[in-house]
Structures are given as C-alpha cells and as structure tokens.
C-alpha cells in the first residue's frame, strides 16, 4: 500500500489557504501541510491599508477562516515557521524549526515583501505596510496626527494617503509619476485621482524623485527630494513596490526570476507549483507572462493550482480576467483586465467629472482593460469586452453612435 500523498504549501496567506481549501473541496484525502512564517492564522491583506488602518475594523475581522473551519479542513498548519530550503530532487522542504517535510506536490505561495528605500534601514519612523503588525504600527502613529510623507503613489500609497488624511494627518504624497496611479491607469484617471487627493487636502509632489531620508538621532525628520528641497516629516511610509520572496529557493533547481517562473498551468517543475503574488506564469490567452499582486488573483490562482494538482496529467491553463479594487475617500475604483501600457482609452458610460463612469482601455486594436466607479452593471458588461478582447473599432463605433 502506498502512503497517502502529501501536498506542502509554503505560505499561509490568501493564496495558500485557497490551495488548501480547494484541494479538500476537490476530494483530496492526503496530507495538506501549510507552512507560514507569520504567527497569525491566515488573514486578509487588502483591508490593512483601508479598514484596519482607519480603525473601522477590529484586527480580528481580517482573519480569513475561524479556527474551527481550519480544523475541519484538516490542515497540518505550522505557523511561525519559515521554509528555508527545497530539495526538488528528493522532494523535501527544510524549515527554520529543523523539520524536514517530504512532499508529492509543493505549492510556493510565499508572496512578496515591501521594497525598501535605500538608506532607511533601522531609521525610526520609516514605515512599510504589508503585515498586520505594520498596519498596527502605522495606525498608532496616525493617532498623533503626524506630518506623514508617503513615498510612492501606487495603490498602497494612494490608499494610505486617503486614510491618513481622513484621520487628520498632514499628508504629502511623493512620486516620480505624474499623478497618483497614472502609470497604471493612464493620464485621465490619474488626473481624476490627483483632483480627489488635492480636494481632500493632500499635498502632491509628483514628477520628482526621492534622494534620501533625513534623520536626527536615528529618528526620521524629513524626505529629501532630487530637486534639493526637503519635506519635513514625523513619519514616512515607503510604498514603492514589492520584491517576490524567492531567495529561499536558491539552489533548489526551481526556476526563479521576477517571482517563481511557471508555465501556463502555474507549474514550475513537475510537482512544484506557485500561486499568488510570488507566481509568474504564462497567461496563455493573453500570450503574456504575468505576476499579479492582487487579492482576487491569489484566490483564483490557488484554486487553479489545487485543481491542476488533482487533475494529475490533465491540467488546465490558468487564464483569468484580473480584478483589482481600490478605495480612496468615497471613490471605489474597480478594475478588470490590464490597463498598464494601454494605447487607447475611452469613457463609454457616465462621466469622469462626476466620478461615476466606466472606461475601457485598448492595446493593439483590442480591449484589454476596464475601469469603473459607481456603475457596477455597465462595468460588468465592459468586463465581458475584456474577456473576449473585443476589437477597439467596435468601442469607437459604440462611443460615437
């Protein structure tokens, strides 16, 4: 009799949990071991820069599953343990607690960590935001209504600006892009967000690079810009992107580049898979390599990996329509598909000035993305255009009709 198969999932956040749940849902009766470096039960990260930072939610509300549900899933859950090495020939994971766990299938769901700003290591008052602990620390600082300088005007920087400003902090948002999220969402929506932040009293410093962080007695005192000026600061949030957590795979034979390099099935090697922020895979439908740091993708990719493990020799390509949302003030942006790098843009419903609209993004003559605010049904219709790569010519006809 052969022993029951074992799936080892490294990473106990949204993607890892999705793998575990969908394995059980699919009837997997073997051992599921989930190894997580953090001590918390699996929790949700998007609320950290929104409801947790603002204090609207108690921290416990971010927990993705209660303990009894996790118990029912019958997961060998090892929290506070860091996976340190993989022997992909022997199929064994070695961990920080000295344990060695053999696997039949390994799922890498180790996520990303914040990209640090050079020269800020150990400086008090310089924050990042990735974990619950990070959010708790920044929330405590916001209670003192500090002068907060946020470096980076992507989703995280813009969302924290919104929460911090609402909490009464004096907020400066610094970025080398021209408007908040303009690199992702284009000039038009960048302008809309620029207006929203200025209307709420955020100081915007865009199109400028950060030179250094100024500090006295190891306490941050300001942010020095490349134009020679200094922004005084009691606290600084560094929100300049992320680095995939792949260093522990060095020497394992598992291909690593910008994330874990997978095929169209989210498979890096026979019996080795990746899901969530850390996974780079070939989106067969778009014929493009993607690595998405999105909450929705973590759930969907975890599901896809679980199904492909169960499907054995008959896996299915993972071809989602990505979805992101962002809450800034009273604006909820909902984004399907890809908007970065678009060469065409059209508002097909509503009005940007009223902050109630549906816009579509085109590339190479086809619809690649859709963004909406306050218009969910038209946006769902636009999602269908993204899913089918509708020719851009039909958008132009629709807009002018």
């Amino acid at each position: 009799m052969t022993p029951a198969p074992t799936v080892v999932i490294v990473g106990a956040s949204a993607a890892g949990l999705s793998v575990a749940e969908n394995l059980r849902r699919g009837g997997f009766a073997g051992t599921v071991t989930m190894i997580g470096a953090e001590h918390h039960l699996p929790y949700d990260r998007p609320p950290l820069s929104k409801e947790v930072l603002s204090g609207l939610w108690p921290d416990a509300k971010t927990q993705l599953r209660d303990r009894s549900t996790l118990t029912e899933l019958n997961i060998d859950l090892r929290l506070g343990v860091r996976a340190e090495h993989v022997d992909s020939a022997a199929r064994i994971v070695a961990n920080s607690d000295g344990s060695q766990v053999p696997y039949n299938d390994l799922v890498i769901a180790t996520g990303v960590r914040p990209r640090p700003l050079p020269g800020t290591g150990g400086v008090q008052g310089v924050h990042v935001l990735r974990t619950l602990g990070d959010a708790q620390r920044l929330r405590a600082v916001l209670r003192g209504r500090p002068r907060l300088v946020i470096v980076g005007a992507g989703f995280l920087g813009a969302e924290v600006a919104s929460v911090a400003r609402t909490a009464g902090a004096d907020v400066t948002l610094v970025s080398d892009i021209e408007s908040p999220l303009s690199d992702v969402l284009g000039a038009e929506l960048g302008q809309l967000l620029r207006r929203a932040h200025i209307d709420h009293g955020v100081h915007l410093k865009t199109g400028v690079k950060v030179a250094a962080v100024a500090h006295h007695d190891n306490q941050v005192s300001g942010v020095e810009l490349a134009d020679g000026s200094t922004l005084p600061a009691d606290a600084v949030l560094v929100a300049i992107g992320s680095i995939p957590n792949t260093e522990w795979l060095a020497g394992s034979g598992i291909p690593v580049g910008n994330g874990v390099i997978c095929d169209q099935f989210c498979r890096a090697l026979p019996g080795v898979w990746a899901a969530g922020d850390v996974a780079s895979w070939h989106h067969a439908d778009l014929d493009q390599r993607l690595r998405l740091e999105h909450r929705t993708n973590a759930a969907e990719q975890g599901m896809a990996v679980a199904r492909n493990i169960l499907a054995a020799d008959n896996p299915t390509p993972f071809t989602p329509v990505p979805y992101i949302w962002s809450d800034q003030y009273d604006l909820k942006l909902q984004i399907y598909g890809q908007t970065r790098g678009a060469d065409a843009f059209a508002v097909i419903d509503g009005d940007l000035a009223e902050r109630r609209f549906v816009a579509v993004y085109g590339k190479n003559g086809h619809v690649h993305g859709a963004v909406g605010a306050g218009m969910i049904r038209p946006l769902r219709a636009a999602r269908a255009l993204v899913a089918t790569h509708e020719p851009w010519s039909s958008i132009e006809q629709g807009v002018t009709a």
Partner: protein
C-alpha cells in the same frame, strides 16, 4: 443548503455573480453583494459552492 454573507467585507469583485447569477447580485453604486436567495434550489448548489470558493473576501458561508 443555507447561505449567509457578511456584506461589510465585500470588495465588489462580482465573482459570485459570475458564478451563480441566480443567487447573487451586486448593488449598483458600490458593487457590494446582494444575496438574492439564501436557500437556493439543489440545481444551484454547485454554482454556489464555486461562488463561495472564489470570493476574494471569503465572506460567503455555505451551510450544508
């Protein structure tokens, strides 16, 4: 089958509506989930389980 939801966690992804359009809908202004039928007929069970599994906020609970 009985479904409960915590709509305060909803991020408006609409994945549930795509999976089980006869059981879930979304509010027009912010996309927050609307539970159309907390006790769906048996022919909807598969779609509802799929919706619960794919919900990025993990807010759909299915009691069977």
């Amino acid at each position: 089958m009985h479904i409960t939801i915590d709509e305060t966690k909803c991020c408006g992804a609409g994945q549930c509506v795509l999976a089980a359009p006869e059981v879930f809908d979304q509010r027009e202004d912010d996309g927050v989930v609307i539970l159309l039928n907390a006790d769906p007929p048996t022919d909807q069970y598969g779609q509802v389980r799929e919706a619960a599994a794919v919900c990025p906020a993990a807010l759909i609970e299915v009691h069977e």
